[in-house]
Symmetry: D3
Subunit: 136 residues, 6 copies
């Protein structure tokens, strides 16, 4: 009997989309306003889904307080009120598009969540643009 | 040509998370504030998804008014403004976690929805915690 | 130069609407399903507004972290995961309608927020029913 | 490494549900208030999902500005502020239920989005009724 | 001790903005796509606020079930799934802009709500455009 | 007959809260994580309210397309995807708290909206923190 439980969280961060091997013109052409060298930012809204089976004793798939704490430690403490390009090591060489941020979030959670559970990451960059990644 | 149609509904209820075989200390340790013996409560937001093929004559997968009525009879009338532990028979021996509530909702709908349709239940316990169950 | 800043918070609680001087019939007639003796519950969504002038040095009307902490101490810690009728002293003799809960919240905040600021309380009992109180 | 990116859009339109081979009575019986011969209308909220792999150079699955423009040209310009039955050729012979609208949207996008990408269409007809179609 | 309680409701309707004394050109110039002679439509979201004092016996400002019923009889039954220009008498000579719809809703409610209460009408025509009217 | 119409808009921006006359320690003490020298950012959600009387010929208080264009020219084009501290002249000497941003938005709109109309600005910095300013 498999279910998925979800926990929402959020963080605010600055970023820019920019590829250092490219000219400024090419960066502007590909990334538009998002390549602004002075940075811009977002309220990122995150939904983490955990798929697995219920523990018949507790009726829980996973302790949601534990999940909340893992998200806080791995994601909120690492990303909130940060400049993703400058201050988050994973984005030193990786462009912080919403796709790449979702993959990094998934990988950071994968290291902390037991292997019997599958993980899904849904990340809103704006109210109109979002991404889903589940490790496949 | 398979689609899924969704209908939202909601109900308000009281509950507590508690396992009578366990000591009060163990209940408090596992369930935290949710084991409060005086109960607490939630506005449960429900989304029911029905997967199947379109009737080419009507352009409907299922009559949404019929679906609305089934949800009202099976779920809203049974759970709304109720104490789940005390007044809902399915939770006399089953802890009313959001996971178990979603499974019970799915089973009650399965008895009423024709077998050609698959059913998905998404249940929000709070704006930040929710669960999806589709019978698998 | 007067503005109003707002902070959202939430708490989950059980309650019932019931007047002990009245017969069960009269309670059922006036309060309907809300008078269920076994209680029901809600996710209460709260918006606290603080009206005042900006401190020109900080650009803040009030420190939002301080406001968040006051709301947590006075409202969330006191009401969250509680049975309002049984466990919250203010509702021992006062029916916990959304109107009365809003007034109590306002009064508890009034004791903690400096007098130079006006306070507005907006409280959602369900996504469709809510109340605003500003102390007048 | 497969992800899905989503873009939201919306359009307002009038429609009626009606099958010309049927009597008015049968239309009223099957479609209820939705068969009103004078039309009614909706704010349709649309979420388009595109599934594929990331371009490692850009960190993009697809250029979201391009996706936004395709949705505008194919869907918003064609449907917004229109009477679907009268003015949109696809619904001359096809009843504009939310299911059929979702299928038409999917087909119009399929003609414009490269074949390496899968497409998912989620369409809200009202805040409580919606449909998902992914071409299978 | 004055408060305001709010109740949300909604209705779907078709309309067009059009002044018959004007040429088609002038209508198109002033009202743009909204003057489409074949109509378009919206999901109108309505919030009705009632301001008054609490009944100390019940803790209610007004019986929310009564308010819900009045909104249903006066507004939802009259407007839902209707063509406002063609089927709603108030808009035979009055252009159904969101401003005018809000005024008509306020007047219809004023006839049904006791004079001791003040009434506020908030009407969303789209998620981005809305209007507030309180009778002054 | 006075009403208020509202238009929603949004912009994404980076900022930091920092007072150059103060030491880094004092900035950190007063502004916390918001004083990060590398900046962070937000999706700012904006609601602009315009209060006035209806034009009886059009049924409009103001042309919403005109209002949308003014908001785009004055606010979105000036702030979106920008670093408020570095690139927006109004915040060269003024700390870009949400309170100050709301005041600047109000003043920029005041220069463009006819004097017969009153203006209200509601600005969400996060889903939980927002501010209202109406020029008084």
């Amino acid at each position: 009997m498999s279910l998925t439980v979800y926990r929402k969280a959020h963080f605010n961060a600055a970023h820019r989309l920019y590829r250092k091997e490219w000219s400024d013109d090419k960066n502007a052409k590909i990334f538009g306003k998002c390549s602004n060298p002075n940075f811009h930012g977002h309220n990122y809204e995150l939904e983490v889904g955990i798929t697995g089976t219920i523990d018949p004793e507790t009726g829980f798939l996973i302790d949601m307080k534990l999940l909340k704490d893992i998200i806080k430690e791995e994601i909120e403490d690492a990303f909130d009120h940060k400049n993703l390009n400058v201050e988050v090591p994973e984005f030193k060489e990786l462009i912080p598009t919403m796709e790449n941020i979702a993959i990094i979030i998934w990988e950071k959670l994968r290291n902390r969540i037991e292997q019997q559970f599958q993980i899904t990451v849904k990340l809103y960059e704006t109210p109109r643009n979002f991404v889903i990644y589940n490790g496949n």
